[in-house]
Symmetry: C2
Subunit: 283 residues, 2 copies
Amino acid sequence: MINVGGRTLKNVVGYDLTMLFVGSEGTLGVVTKAELKLNPMPPARKTIMAVYDDVAKAGENVFRVLENGVIPNKIELLDNWVINRIEEMMPMGLPKDADAVLLFETDGIPEAVEKETEKIVEIAKKYGATDVRVAKDQAEADKYWLARRAGFAAVFGKAPTVFAEDVTVPRGRIPDLIRKCKELAKKYAVEIVVLGHAGDGNLHPAILTDIKNKDHYDRAVKAMDEIIEGAVELGGVISGEHGIGLEKQKFFRKIENPKVIDLMKGIKALVDPNNIMNPGKIW
Amino acid sequence: MINVGGRTLKNVVGYDLTMLFVGSEGTLGVVTKAELKLNPMPPARKTIMAVYDDVAKAGENVFRVLENGVIPNKIELLDNWVINRIEEMMPMGLPKDADAVLLFETDGIPEAVEKETEKIVEIAKKYGATDVRVAKDQAEADKYWLARRAGFAAVFGKAPTVFAEDVTVPRGRIPDLIRKCKELAKKYAVEIVVLGHAGDGNLHPAILTDIKNKDHYDRAVKAMDEIIEGAVELGGVISGEHGIGLEKQKFFRKIENPKVIDLMKGIKALVDPNNIMNPGKIW
């Protein structure tokens, strides 16, 4: 039992064990207690929905906003397929003919939120959004965020087998990643749904398939493999949030420098010599 | 030669080696190339100087500002001794009879900067600042920050031997740490100068002494040891920015859990089995 980290903002005492354990997927130990730093709630927030006739344009809008010095606390992407499934589940007036929508949320002091909201509206219009709506109150904003949260339920309810990815690219490469998904959907004749945390460069492209339909399933696997390889070619990584687990071990071994793998395995053996911590995961 | 990290905002592929190497003081390897993420320059900034008749009140003001949800990008502390040495070196109208001053800088969009500046002025007055000045332009702001930068030169020019510490405490405990320094200055009859990054809970208390004056030097060493132990008792750490190096090894071994030390030493042996990386430092 050890304590790592602490309550100070700065700490350079020895090696950073906190960040070594965080994200280790239980393979280095069990976290029995965690103390988290809380930030004060921002006094104001505002939601903007921007509508696009081309999902790649939505992707471009993400970095246009960021390069203009506006850093919203969220930028989320829903594509046409997800929008229509949400409207089937709970009609709320989302634009069913849009190729994609982006949901932005700004937060901070009211004056800053107002200004950043104006700037997002201006940039979205300038770079090809066909419609931009600022939620007039919290109720309308809540409706959009409910739609976003329903996105995954919509995907997972619609096919016997769903692959959901977690690839992450530098934020300027989001349009390229989205275009790649579109190409692969055509190449392998599968439906690839695109949604995710566009503001982080982290998308969760999902492929709807059925493990019992061997031909379709095999094409889905190939398409997903190419999405992952494509993300890496764009300077990205195979996982932004969810880790290696079981499924991504083959990509991890293929893509990562063997010296890096050896070093990480050495740390695993040092901390857990009997391999009792979440055995089989990552390694 | 390995690459760690990357250009994505999120990355949970394997263990976080970047943070393991950062802060390892050269004991795990040599950084041959570093790519840094840049944030856009904030469009506006403003400097506030608040004056106190008691340095502990200045310390309290730091967390009063933070607990009110205002997070300035800098809060720096100068005590009476430093103020007077700066005024000797380059007279610029600092309040020579003040026990301490805090320098705040806010940044962001102009409306937010304006609002946060007002709030800092209000809170500083409410919690006992005897005078609060908002720099009327960048020239006046630059003058205050020049004073801050001159602070260390002022300290190091004034005694044959100077101990400068790097202790860091939770930000709510800054007044306690400052009071501890005052007590120890009396107890050991040495001059303890207090300045540093108060907004981070990171102070650099300095003791002026002379290694050739054995009696004085011994008292200075004892005072410094007690400052370090006092910071740890307040929930702090022995180093916020500068690391263990040679000087803090005795405190590191005394304060840190031996299991944590063993784990860190294991990582050192794994990465650098021949002990050729900055040998003698930390370990």
